[in-house]
Subunit: 364 residues, 2 copies
C-alpha cells in the first residue's frame, strides 16, 4: 500500500500527515526532522506492550536516544497530575530544548503530550503517532492540545503544532470495536459539516469500513485529514470557521462531564451530541425529520449511541454554559443548515428543550 | 511628565509599552484594547492593598467588569499550585475566551498570569501592569512566561505576548529598597550586554537613580525597554541573540536554586551571577581585572550583592546543567568579550572553577 501524504499548510509551522502501513518501523521518516538525536516517547500502559518496543528499536537503529514515559490509560488521567509526571520525567532525565516529544497513543496521549511539548522549557518539538481512529482523523491534526479540569473538559491547553503526524493503519488492527466506533463519530462529523459527497460515500461504504477494509479505511482517514487540514490552515486559533469542527461537541462535552469523564468515550458523546444538534437544527426549521433519521441511521451503523443520557435540561444547560464556545454569556452552537453544511449560531431555549426532549433517554 | 511609548515590533503580535505617571487611573488606555468588557486582575497580597482598588475603580468607570484574584506574595509561590488557583477562579467565574487577564504586580505575578493567559482555554488576551522596577525593565516585556518546578526555575511556561504593558512610575514609590536594587541588576545588565553608552550613562547617574529621581528613572526604564524590545523583536523564541539577555542568569539560577527559591531575590542572584560571568570572561582572557572591578563597583553602588554563596563547585555545576540553555549536555554561558559586548559561548571547566574561586564567599 502506498503511503498517502496530507500537507497541513499553516504559515508559521507547516507539516505533513503520513497515512500508510508499517510506518512505526520506518524511523527514517522521523529522524530527518529531529534537531537533536534524542526523543522522549510518551505512551500509555495499553499501547506500550503493543507498539513501544518496535518504535524504540527502529529509532535506536537510526542512532536516536529514546526516553520512555508510560502513563496510565484513560480520559480520567488527562489531568494536571499526569502532565506533572511527564514534566518530572523530562526534568529528571534532563531533556533539553531540542529534545523532541513523541506522542504514541490515542487522543488523550496526543493531547497531553502536545501540551507538555508546548510548555516544557517554553516549547520543544513534537511528533504525533496516533494509534486510534479518532486520533488519526481528528485529535492528532491541527495542534489543539489540552488537559481537563474538574470544572470543564480541555479547559487548560495550547495551540501547538506537531512537526509530523504518522497515522499507521496497522495500529488500528488492535483497536477495540468500541474505540473504533468512537473514531467513526468524528469521521461522520466531517461529512455532516461541509462535505456532502463524503457523507454519501460513507453511507455507501459504512459496512466495509466497519469491517476495517484497508483501502476504505485509508481513503476515509485521508479525506478526514484533508478536510481538517483545510479548515485548520484557514483558522488555526479558532477565531471563526474552525469552530465548525465542534459539531456535536457542546452537547457531547456536557454528556461527558455530566456522566463523569470516562463513562462514555469522547466519540460516543460526540455521536449522541450530533444527534441532539440535528434535532435542534430540526427544531429551528433547518433539517427535516428524514435528515435527522439519516444521521441517526449512519451513526447506528457505526455502532454508536444515538440516545443521550437523561441528565435533565437544567443540568445540560449549566454544563454547556461552561463550554469554551461561550461569548458574553451566550452559548455558541454548531448547527446544520442542511446535511453537509454546518454553521455557528445560537439557539432559543425552546429549541434546546425540544432537542433534549427528542434525543434524551428519559423521553423515549 | 509626558508618557513615553516603546513599541515592541513582533510580527504576529506587536504591542506598546507605556512609561509614565498615574497610568493606573487611565483605564481608557486599556479599555480600547479589550475584546469584551470584562477582565480578571491577578495580583498579590502586598500589591492589592496599594493599587488594586484604584485600578478596579478606573476600569469600572469605563464599564468594565473586574474579577479579582489575589495570590500570596513571593517567588516560592510561583508554582503549579498558584497557577491552579488562577485556573480555579477563572473557571468558577466562567471567564471566557475573550476575557482579558491583567497582571498587576512584579515578575512573579507577571510570569504566572502570562502563563495562565497562555493556557486558559488555549489562550486569552493579556495585559501587563508591572509594579516593580525589575518587572518594568525586564520580565513584563517580551512574552516569556513561566512557573518554577522543584527541579528547575522557569522550566514550565510559554512564549506569550501581552497586548499592552503599562509601566507606572508611581508604583515604584512604594517599592522596598531591596527590590529596587534587585531591579537595578537587570538595568545594569542591558549596559553590559550591548549598550556601552548606557553603561557609561549609568555610571554617571547611579546616585541619582538610587535616589529615585523621576526623570532619571523614566530615562533608564525607557532605554531598557528599547533594548529589550529590539532584541525580542529580532528573536522572539530565543533561537539566537535573545539568549544574551540571560547574562548572569545561568550562575544566578544556580544561586537561587541552591539557596532555595526566595532566599535571594532574582535580581540579587543575577547581580552576583554577572560578577561570576565577568570573572569567567576574565579567566578566558576577555576582560581585564579593571573591567571586572567596574562591574563590581557599579553593582555595589546599586546596593547589590557581588559575592556569591559558597555552594561548592560541584553543586554549582550540577545546578547549571539543569538550565534551559543546555544543548547536547553542554552548558551555554553568556560571556563578555568586553564591557557592553556579550556573546554566547562555552566555558572550559578551569574557567568555571576560576570564576567560582574568585566570586564565591568561601574564597574571600
Amino acid at each position: 500500500m502506498m503511503t498517502r501524504v496530507v500537507h497541513v499548510d499553516i504559515a508559521h509551522a507547516p507539516y505533513d500527515i503520513l497515512i500508510g502501513r508499517d510506518l512505526l518501523s520506518q524511523a527514517e521518516k522521523i529522524s530527518g526532522l529531529l534537531p537533536q538525536s534524542r526523543v522522549a516517547i510518551v505512551t500509555n500502559t495499553t499501547i506500550a506492550p503493543l507498539y513501544l518496543a518496535g518504535l524504540v528499536e527502529s529509532l535506536q537503529a537510526q542512532g536516536i536516544q529514546c526516553q520512555q514515559i508510560i502513563l496510565p490509560d484513560g480520559e480520567k488521567y488527562k489531568t494536571w497530575e499526569s502532565l506533572n509526571l511527564i514534566m518530572d520525567a523530562l526534568l529528571t532525565e534532563r531533556a533539553e530544548r531540542k529534545t523532541t516529544l513523541i506522542a504514541l497513543g490515542g487522543g488523550v496521549i496526543g493531547d497531553m503530550t502536545g501540551f507538555a511539548a508546548a510548555i516544557y522549557q517554553r516549547g520543544v518539538p513534537f511528533i504525533q503517532i496516533p494509534t486510534t481512529l479518532l486520533a488519526q482523523v481528528d485529535s492528532s491534526v491541527g495542534g489543539k492540545t489540552a488537559i481537563n479540569h474538574p470544572l470543564g473538559k480541555n479547559m487548560i491547553g495550547a495551540f501547538y503544532q506537531p512537526r509530523l503526524v504518522l497515522a499507521d493503519l496497522d495500529s488500528l488492527s488492535t483497536l477495540p470495536d468500541r474505540e473504533f466506533s468512537a473514531g467513526m463519530a468524528e469521521v461522520i462529523k466531517y461529512g455532516l459539516i461541509d462535505d456532502p459527497d463524503f457523507l454519501l460515500w460513507l453511507e455507501d461504504n459504512i459496512d466495509g469500513i466497519m469491517a476495517r477494509e484497508e483501502q476504505l479505511l485509508a481513503e476515509a482517514i485521508e479525506r478526514c485529514c484533508q478536510n481538517k487540514a483545510r479548515i485548520v490552515a484557514a483558522d488555526e486559533k479558532e477565531t471563526g470557521q474552525r469552530a465548525l469542527l465542534n459539531l456535536g461537541h457542546t452537547f457531547g462535552h456536557a454528556i461527558e462531564a455530566g456522566l463523569g469523564y470516562g463513562a462514555w468515550l469522547h466519540g460516543e458523546a460526540v455521536a449522541a451530541g450530533m444527534v441532539l444538534a440535528a434535532y435542534a437544527s430540526q427544531a429551528i426549521g433547518h433539517l427535516s425529520a428524514q435528515d435527522v433519521e439519516r444521521v441517526i441511521v449512519l451513526l447506528q451503523k457505526a455502532r454508536l449511541p444515538v440516545v443521550s443520557p437523561a441528565l435533565g435540561g437544567e443540568r445540560y444547560k449549566a454544563l454547556m454554559a461552561q463550554d469554551k464556545k461561550v461569548d458574553a454569556g451566550r452559548i455558541k452552537f454548531i448547527l446544520l443548515r442542511q446535511l453537509g453544511e454546518a454553521y455557528i449560531g445560537e439557539l432559543p431555549e425552546s429549541a434546546i428543550d425540544a432537542a433534549l426532549l427528542a434525543g434524551c433517554e428519559a423521553a423515549r
